[in-house]
């Protein structure tokens, strides 16, 4: 038996809230799925799911929308993790996009993200007819996220209507939908980036090694430091690669994820750097800088 519990800390309260949310979905949804992006937020979300249903295995599958441009280390980590936990893993890629040869180097970040990520996600949700999909988005990430409900309603066309959101009272969530409609559920809405890191530290959650600094080959591309992850990077670019101590604050498609120079190779050092840094974690993401309301627009179109 553990020690007597005194007052709950903020991490305890956030954890309990997330678990409550996941159990509501498990009880009310007909066909839920957890979107697993292999990043640190997904790692925390998955860990919370393990806790929420213990000693049962979480009663839903994991799904990864693979743009085929993720870091290869992420894919290895994903497959090993799913096998360890014993949850089903669904991997979906937009075959039409692959056939058309869509990629960030040839089509740019906006087209690539729309076709491989947004359309890929919509295809997958339609194919498996999931009615509730968990996502690891946080309200502190971006201004339109800050306004989104925990249970975020989507029309049958996967659209989000920010001006007409369902009121959300206490911890009493309305998960009712009609056929074809769906809900995106964000159990870690109220966590901040610092909370995530502290929780990873407290719970000793394993994360993809790319978060830790190491010597990696990087090139300068469109204002960011991009890691050479495979042969698909144009050769003239690859030729410019230099070895640097870098790490990543977020993980996505490798050509769209800027590295930061760092020697932080422990959790404590990463947190220390984050607390002393002067730029937000999304700065490394090309997708957010396109226009002021860019995320809100993407979300209305079905992006997670």
């Amino acid at each position: 038996m553990g020690p007597l519990v005194s007052d709950l800390t903020h991490l305890d309260r956030l954890e309990a809230e997330s678990i409550h949310i996941m159990r509501e979905v498990a009880a009310e949804a007909e066909n839920p799925v957890m979107l697993y992006s292999v990043g640190k937020d997904s790692a925390v979300m998955l860990h919370l799911a393990m806790k929420a249903f213990y000693p049962s295995v979480p009663p839903f599958p994991l799904m990864h929308v693979d743009t085929t441009w993720k870091f290869s280390e992420m894919i290895k980590f994903r497959d090993r993790k799913a096998a360890e936990i014993g949850m089903d893993l669904i991997v979906h890629s937009n075959q039409e996009g692959i056939d058309a040869g869509v990629g960030p180097f040839t089509h740019g970040s906006a087209v690539h993200t729309d076709i491989m990520k947004t359309q890929g996600l919509i295809q997958a949700l339609d194919k498996y007819k999931f009615d509730v999909a968990f996502g690891g988005a946080r309200r502190d990430e971006e201004k339109s996220r800050a306004k989104e409900r925990v249970f975020s309603f989507r029309t049958a066309e996967h659209r989000w209507d920010p001006k007409n959101q369902r009121p959300e009272l206490w911890n009493v969530y309305n998960a009712r939908i009609r056929k074809g409609e769906s809900i995106r559920c964000f159990p870690i809405s109220n966590w901040t980036e610092l909370d995530i890191w502290q929780y990873i530290r407290r719970e000793q959650i394993e994360i993809v090694p790319l978060y830790y600094a190491a010597k990696r080959p990087v090139v300068e591309w469109e204002g960011s430091q991009i890691m050479v992850d495979d042969e698909r990077m144009p050769e003239e670019l690859r030729k410019t690669a230099v070895e640097k101590y870098v790490r990543f604050r977020t993980l996505g498609c490798y050509p769209l994820t800027g590295a930061v120079e760092s020697e932080a190779d422990t959790l404590e050092e990463i947190i220390q750097e984050m607390l002393l840094t002067t730029s937000s974690e999304r700065q490394g993401r090309t997708i957010d800088r396109d226009q002021a309301a860019s995320m809100e627009k993407k979300k209305q179109e079905g992006y997670f």
Binding site: E17, S56, S279, S280
Partner: protein, 635 residues
Amino acid sequence: MSHQSDLIADDINAYLEAHENKSLLRFITCGSVDDGKSTLIGRLLYDSKMIFEDQLEALESDSKRHGTQGDQIDFALLVDGLAAEREQGITIDVAYRFFSTDRRKFIVADTPGHEQYTRNMATGASTADLAILMIDARKGILTQTRRHSFIASSLGIRKLILCINKMDLVEYDEAVFNNIEQDFLEFANELNAGIEIQAIPVSALAGDNITSISDNTPWYTGPSLMEYLETVPVGDERKAAPFRMPVQWVNRPNLDFRGFSGQIASGSIKPGDKIKTLPSAKETTVERVVVHGGDLAEGIAGQSVTLTFADEVDTSRGDVICAANDPAEVSDQFQARILWMSDDAMLPGRRYLLKTGAKTVTALVSGLKYRIDVNDLQDRPAKTLNLNEVGVCTLSLDQAIAFDPYDVNRETGGFILIDRLTNNTVGLGMLDFALRRAGNIHWQALDVDRETLASQKDQKPAVLWFTGLSGSGKSTIANALQKKLFSMGKHTFVLDGDNVRHGLNRDLGFTDEDRVENIRRVSSVAKLMTDAGLITLVSFISPFRSERRMARNLMSEGEFIEIHVDTPLSVAEERDVKGLYKRARAGEIKNFTGIDSPYEAPKDPEITIDTVNNTPESAADEIVRWMEAKGLLDA
């Protein structure tokens, strides 16, 4: 990012240990448009170093494009994140923001000021420990201030900070501050009792009294806003309350384990504690408090746990596990306060889905007693509730649920209403009390029974139920009959529609719903009078067959005598003793039986009185003869 702390650079481990054990305060900011709510939050984030350089750059460019502060940074743009909000310069939906200091972590819900977005304000308030009310020092207490205070306090927020803002624009005048504080305290007397109020003079734009005490207000001796937020005790009365846990999910990984998962709503629980599951009222003992990584010696309010029981007790999702010695109440009839949140009005008589805790049931809004004007807190008569209106309603559920009054326990007393067709959340509600305690009230056995009481009076009790149109002659005949029975030595009483509406049913109108309730109450009273051994004469229009049937079913076999005072509408209207038909025809009276509200004539009444060819006297004689023939007037 984050607040300044030397520990971050010097000793990150020590910093992390300290930060990990901080407590959490959730609060909302509310007030009128342009009072500076968003500016205040922007200021708190900025002053606690929660804004990154790239965000600051974006803010500076946005300030030039959309800002309202000239060349200065418009902090409001930090929080007004939706495109429509930035275009219109207003806050539409709740925005959640996060910051921390060395002492605490905060979650702020910035809530909209416009009345049309009141429902979004309630969304933010429902999870908050504290509310900051922004007041423009130049304008004082406004309607919106009152509305927001009322909603915040109704939703159970017990701590209010009165942020009297824009003090720089009134030359930091102490008198202005004192007057506004005084005005508010007077108004606050009408709110829920037990609210703690702290008034602070600030300028969100200039930063006075936000993170430190300002030299501009030497007359102010209280704490700065930040100091108050960091130190105000987060009243965890939830921990001291009796144990409650709604069951969310039954955890059955294999045949050997059966647990009940949920978040502890109040109180605490240990292995060996006696519990009762409601509404089934089965008792057992808790065996384990299971969480991942090892069982707990004790689970406390706020934690998500899984409980196992010593015995196989049938428990499922939606049940509430309670302390056995102090369980919740169980009922299917309630009085509740409802805040309506849909564009389609709430209609009494309509069925909605009601979700409370993990339980969803069907609820009929059986009545709307009155509306509370959120601007002046006065009761107003109402037929429906429109968007953002608050009303006191009666609810009838299709099954009994466990609950506590909302003012006692937010977790087990709050509910949402869901439209069955659109699935939208259309209302939020707070249970006040049960109208019928399904479990608690038992029939009191009486030693002097109804037969004894009747035989003492040498009579048989009966209900003579006169039904007919207004002006048909019901009361006149009942009056004549009572005189005859009295002279025969019988003990009688007349329940007259008009008279009862002056007292017992004063709160009821003439809508279909109210007519139903009117008859329900009168038949209950008539029933009690027959128990007392009386011959009871009920003179009510009682236009609906189903309600007369309800009254009949309440009485013992043979004691209900339905008397149809059968006067044609044309005759009653021509008599028009009280002048009511004329007014109804003129449209001055709504829902008048026979004119714009139906009368369903009895199909098989015991007695039918023809008032066109009979006087009241002869009609009364006819009823006496009928009673004699049935032996009702024998001892």
